[in-house]
Amino acid sequence: MTKTLRALLGATALITLSGVAMAETTITVATVNNGDMVRMQGLMEDFNTKHPDITVEWVTLEENVLRQNVTTDIATGGGQYDVITIGTYEVPIWGKQGWLESLNDLPAEYDVDDLLPAIRGGLTVDGNLMASPFYGESSMVMYRKDMMEAAGLTMPDAPTWADIEKAAAAMTNKDTGVFGVCLRGKAGWGENMAFLTAMSNSFGARWFDEAWAPQFDQPEWKATLEFYLNLMNSYGPPGASNNGFNENLTLFQQGKCGMWIDATVAASFVTGADSTVADKVGFALAPDNGLGKRGNWLWAWSLAVPASSDAKDAAKTFINWATNKDYLALVASKEGWANVPPGTRTSLYSNEEYAKVPFAKMTIDSINSADPTAPTVKPVPYVGVQFVAIPEFQGLGTTVGEIFSAALAGQKTADEALAEAQAAVAEEMKAAGYIQ
């Protein structure tokens, strides 16, 4: 903070000295408290030097609280924010509603063609770029090389679910508190349902058929859920129905998990300073079942300008600074290549320095293998790999997430859970007018 303050004071002095009368603009930037965003706030000195006429006010909140505040503001036309941090789920919906300002007119140095095609596609609505990706992620397998070796196994770069089960069985040792596999179990559309929906794609399952009829009564979902429950009950940690991203990250960092299938951004945490297993982690693509689709997702935390903002130009200036190639270079020079926000630009992955980062290749391969427009084996009427980009999904995903979480806690069988999910989703889709 003092740094920012000093930079600000310096900037003010500069203006006074040069005698230029610049109109001071203040923009309010709302963001999540994830590591990459926190790092950005530490680098504001650079922005303040380059744009002394723009003052940035931060609103940093935990993901769910931020989503709640930003959604309320934007849906009621509040205009409190000039830059908001939203994900690939929100962008298509909000863009269609006309709540976002198009970013087509960012300066040439932004180099829009450098964005990864899969990521850019998810943020484009009717040909207009509606948000600029800050970092992108897919999901992959993170595993303990030392434990695999001790078990006499090797992890293929592109494992199948059968490989995962075999490895989990070999690494689990409940006496020492080591569990073969840690997966999300906490209820929520962005928690267990993100994982399970992505996983179900590799089993050939889908949320809806082409006529929006829910598909939880189909054998593919049954196979998915039964495999998941069996895997977790046999080789997962106790109390897994309350484990989300954070809980599993902590477990893995403490060396209590043999494998963890989750977001690619976690790679920098499990190999980082807080991790007790930093030098023992290997990476592999998310598993498949030989059906042509892998169980990995696609997400990008992105910066967008609400249509209700009254400082759109300053907001775009900020977005250009925070998401162009120079910003990546800035982070690399200050914090090292491993801490550069991943998964947004082609140029980053052709950079030789970045290629030395252990998880770089697996991250880009994972991102490239996800296709939001054709997420699963069969055709679907929706966009989104681990979500369905319709306004109703947050409610639906959470409801189904609770049912599946209860199944993991042993309160329901897989069949009961699927029947309940089918009924709940069918009812809601009827109420929302998708089906009769």
Partner: protein, 290 residues
């Protein structure tokens, strides 16, 4: 004392607060009532319209509605029982002459200063966590499997956390009630050969009735609306095992962003609160008159 002019003055003095509270109550209530009959989803602004009682029907036919209702009452009842009983015992204990009473009191009321989300997160992460929590370390120390608090006993865990937050409040009210009890009366009873239990039953307890009533009234009002602690710890789960009525409303308003249904849930919650309040006042109201 009740001259005509002083009555008028009194009315005038009560008027601002009544007027403000009336506005504060009526305006949001009217808006909520209005939305409860509307289709209003934040993310689908194009589709609006009257839906009659559909929102209410949806809420009351939701599979977890009755469980949520039951859980709400369990939470209120459970916390009241725990805080009143433990509060009485602790008050009796620290009413004795003990060393360092000032510091002792501060330690006991400390939970009251902790913001509810912080309290919930301390308990969830530092104590109840099956791998990193202190409780699991204790279990393991005894060679036992850690107890899965939030998975196997979600309602009990939430009740425990909320009770911890409200225990200081109950203890202090009850303590002050005790301190105003004259010691002569007790000594006389002791000389008459009354046992410790009968002294408590026939002298102390009647004296504390009013204090207990206040604890129950005020706590009930706060407890009926609790959802933050549930959101932080169990998120209403596993399944809907620890879902309460306010948490159901929270999910509709904030997760599903369905304002119409949340409004209908809000009206149902207000009705429930008034039913509870009615019975409380009938059962306890006379205790307030001294």
């Amino acid at each position: 004392m009740s001259t005509h002019s002083s009555r008028l003055a009194a009315r005038l003095m009560v008027a601002p607060s009544v007027a403000l509270l009336l506005i504060w109550m009526i305006v949001p209530l009217a808006m909520t009532l209005y939305y409860s009959f509307r289709f209003y989803r934040l993310l689908s602004p194009d589709r609006t319209g009257w839906v009659g009682f559909n929102n209410y029907l949806w809420f009351m036919n939701a599979p977890d509605f009755w469980l949520a209702l039951f859980n709400t009452l369990t939470l209120v009842g459970g916390v009241l029982i725990i805080t009143v009983i433990l509060g009485t015992l602790i008050a009796l204990l620290i009413d004795q002459p003990v060393k360092g009473q000032g510091l002792l009191r501060i330690l006991i009321i400390a939970p009251f200063f902790v913001m509810p989300p912080v309290a919930a997160s301390i308990w969830e992460n530092l104590f109840m966590h099956p791998q990193n929590g202190l409780f699991s370390a204790v279990s393991r120390g005894f060679g036992a499997q850690p107890i899965l608090f939030l998975e196997d006993y979600p309602m009990l865990s939430v009740i425990g956390i909320v009770s911890w937050e409200w225990l200081p409040f109950a203890t202090l009210i009850l303590l002050t009630a005790l301190q105003s009890l004259s010691s002569e009366q007790l000594e006389a009873a002791e000389m008459d050969g009354a046992s410790a239990f009968s002294r408590f039953r026939y002298i102390i307890l009647p004296h504390m009735t009013r204090a207990i009533t206040v604890v129950i009234l005020i706590q009930t009002i706060f407890l009926l609306g609790i959802f933050g602690e549930i959101y932080t710890t169990t998120q209403g789960g596993p399944g809907s095992a620890s879902t309460t009525l306010p948490y159901m409303i929270f999910k509709q308003a904030i997760v599903a962003k369905d304002i119409g249904r949340a409004a209908a849930g809000g009206i149902i919650a207000v009705i429930l609160a008034n039913i509870v309040a009615y019975f409380l006042m009938r059962g306890l109201g006379r205790n307030l008159d001294s």
